[in-house]
Symmetry: C2
């Protein structure tokens, strides 16, 4: 079969308007939001509209040994969904429907290309919400599943993993299987749903997702709390989590990050000058309750707790300012990018280890004569650091040092962004070889030819070899 025959077959399958071919791609389809974009040209970018089409694509790819990269909205931050030269990109852009909303069972069944914003809009008429809240609302649910996305509400509600009840999958050979279902618990065989969540597109193509919803809590308050040191803000967190107040968000920002966030959004939060001058870090706490009375009581108790723990002041933000602050915080990645950030870290450590971790981060920064700014989901111990050091070689050394410190404290390399290609070298170097072997074995079970997002995670061939591999013979 010639390349031209293959092109015709794929067009016949999805339609001419749903396919582009090398060299006529839209470059927007070829990368995510990683800071390290490399330009790789796949053979085809396809936009199927059904599971049947996805299965047929997988069968064709299997016959011709073509790599497949699943693509949601391309909002990933780790280079997880970058194409393989000569391979196929399956974009789920047109598989973006809500298939079923069950308000009795608190379950919604969606296609992978649906964005969080679209899901939220669909749910807004109900009294339910999908509580997981990764900042980027244009991200797709399929992408959320493949990276096990987290975000600001994880401290109370958990991450994607805790909200996916079932999946429909297209395997590498084109077989369609269903895992789990619209039930909240099961002890009926291996949990393949959980295995696929966070697998970064390497095990199967996710074509349908059953999500657990929860009742929207009608009463909310956002509390902004300045502290005199980074250390004091991170040390208050365990007490706050232990209080039983169950904050829906528990974020910290160091003073430089806070300043970047507010000035980029021209946001005036009304913090007294004397307090602002002493503040070196901020805590943002969101409380959500069923009743207004409970919210009032919780705010009073939270205020007392924070003052006892050394807060400089406690501001209950007006609703408008609160939503603007959260939005501005969501946009932080773009602010950092504009400022020339070279790496975004999302190490997770045990909550109580955050102070030690940040002390060590400051030491590492000082050693490399660069300042590392940060913020993060401090209630989860999930810290986002912005690294600006320009020299590639030295930055690689610095990054490795950060990961080693994080792992040494009982943490993990990535709390929510995934390994992708950006962190893969570190992941390979720092993960127990036995674990890597188990992962490779599981990969072979699902995808014996390694066609689905190859060269990722445990694959020693590494992402930078992409361009050498899988190039389709003309």
């Amino acid at each position: 079969m010639t390349t031209s025959d293959l092109r015709d077959e794929l067009i016949g399958l999805v339609g001419g308007d749903a396919a582009t071919f090398y060299p006529d791609h839209n470059t927007d389809d070829l990368h995510d939001e990683s800071l390290h974009v490399t330009h790789v040209e796949p053979f085809a970018v396809l936009r199927p509209t059904s599971t049947e089409q996805v299965a047929a694509i997988a069968k064709i790819a299997d016959v011709h040994d073509l790599a497949i990269t699943a693509r949601g909205s391309g909002t990933g931050l780790s280079g997880g969904a970058t194409p393989v030269a000569g391979g196929i990109v399956v974009s789920f852009e047109r598989m973006n429907q809500v298939l079923r909303l069950d308000t009795n069972d608190h379950v919604v069944v969606v296609q992978p290309g649906l964005t969080l914003r679209e899901l939220n809009a669909h749910l807004s008429a109900s009294s339910l919400r999908y509580p997981v809240y990764p900042g980027e609302l244009s991200g797709s649910i399929g992408g959320n599943v493949n990276t096990n996305a987290g975000g600001m509400r994880a401290v109370r509600h958990g991450v994607t993993r805790q909200h996916v009840l079932g999946l429909e999958l297209v395997l590498a050979n084109g077989t369609v299987v269903r895992t789990g279902g619209p039930v909240v618990k099961s002890s009926s065989g291996y949990d393949l749903t959980q295995l696929v969540i966070g697998s970064e597109g390497t095990l199967a193509l996710v074509t349908e997702i059953t999500l657990k919803l929860s009742p929207t809590l009608a009463n909310a308050a956002t509390i902004l709390v300045p502290f005199a040191s980074l250390d004091s803000v991170t040390r208050v967190v365990p007490t706050l989590v232990a209080s039983g107040l169950q904050p829906s968000m528990l974020e910290y920002l160091d003073v430089r990050t806070m300043s970047a966030v507010t000035s980029a959004a021209s946001l005036e939060l009304g913090i007294e000058k004397a307090v602002a001058e002493r503040a070196l870090a901020y805590l943002i706490v969101v409380l959500e309750t069923r009743t207004p009375e409970q919210l009032e009581n919780d705010i009073v108790d939270l205020g007392a707790l924070l003052e006892a723990e050394g807060a400089l002041d406690v501001y209950v933000l007006p609703e408008h300012a609160a939503s603007r602050l959260i939005e501005a915080r969501e946009r932080l990645f773009w602010v950092s990018k504009d400022a020339g950030v070279k790496e975004i870290v999302d190490i997770v450590v045990p909550r109580s280890a955050v102070p030690s971790f940040l002390e060590e981060v400051a030491r590492i920064g000082a050693r490399h004569a660069t300042s590392i700014t940060g913020c993060g989901h401090v209630g989860d111990g999930n810290i986002h650091l912005a690294v600006y050091l320009p020299d590639d070689g030295e930055r690689h050394v610095l990054m490795r040092e950060l990961f080693v410190v994080g792992l040494g404290l009982g943490g993990q390399i990535s709390g929510e962004h995934g390994i992708g290609r950006d962190k893969q070298e570190h992941y390979l170097a720092l993960t127990d070889p036995t674990v890597l072997d188990l992962e490779r074995g599981i990969k072979r079970v699902f995808d014996p030819k390694s066609l689905l997002n190859p060269y990722r995670l445990f694959d020693e061939r590494l992402a930078h070899d992409d361009a050498l591999a899988h190039s389709l013979k003309e």
Copy 2:
């Protein structure tokens, strides 16, 4: 090597007081609480005290192709941990320590033989608890992990799966690996922790478990609610879950089960005679809050909701009666066993499908001229049915009908007990062959010789062939 040499090697490893050999076993070590005990004699029952000993046992078993059955407290209900003839039972009875309690991170690290009762006792001095609440407190944490145990508090707090952050595992070849860690989120490779949870001892020997704890809620109320029909009690559940009241327990009992529970415990709940005469089903709701004020408000709102939904009355039980009722409910399995129950079902269906499911159950019972009584974690759609039909063949047909109905409603065969040997034939017949093949493939990656709890789940050789296999040559 002779059998006698092997025996000496194993005694040298764990000590003579920690080993028994065929035919001198204590029969208590050879079965769980399944209603279908078959007597199978392993070669050895060993009680190691360390991960190193477990790893050494696995290496020996690997060399001699001996099956290994992991054993916790033997409280399983599905025949999941029954020995293999000629194999080794690894009992975790002596690996029952709390290794580390971190009240800042809300994390506890335990050995698998620790019982829930022992864990609760250890935590009682702190302000934290392990919120998962399977009825049987003598069950081991290792057993809970291997069956993904659920229980009464799952409706609010989730099941075991949502509380295990990391594991230490001994693989079939004796290699020790760690998965996850004391962090609440991670997107760093395949989630092997989740894969092992619920795998019923078939993938690895779990030697250490890191659990997530949560703050104890100091204020609790147990509310007993009689309804005039089974249907009305199950129909109220979605409304209750949607209310945002977040009950910690949401149980139903049909009138016959309630009567069995209360009379076995000589429990007088103070229900008015006129109400009791009309009641055909009961709901038990437990509310837990941070403050007494919130509890009072929640009780008022719950009462209003229940009365609007047709409750015959609403009783807030005195603390003593409440704890006795919950304890009596926990002991229901034993009451049913004394009454001659032949099968306990733990099918899970979508919450809103419970009324249809129970209608169909009644129809199936009528067709087989037997009455099927029930209760269950109705907030999760997890229904426990007691089947008394004596004829083995007809009961097998009836069971298959129940599973088919449950699966047809979007459910799963087991919500929390696991498949074990008791439900394996049904599981094999009713599960997508592609899913079974994926499971077999994963099993081969972890345990290529199929030595760890062989013949379970996807294994077509089925449990009743145990006795034929793995018999050690003298």
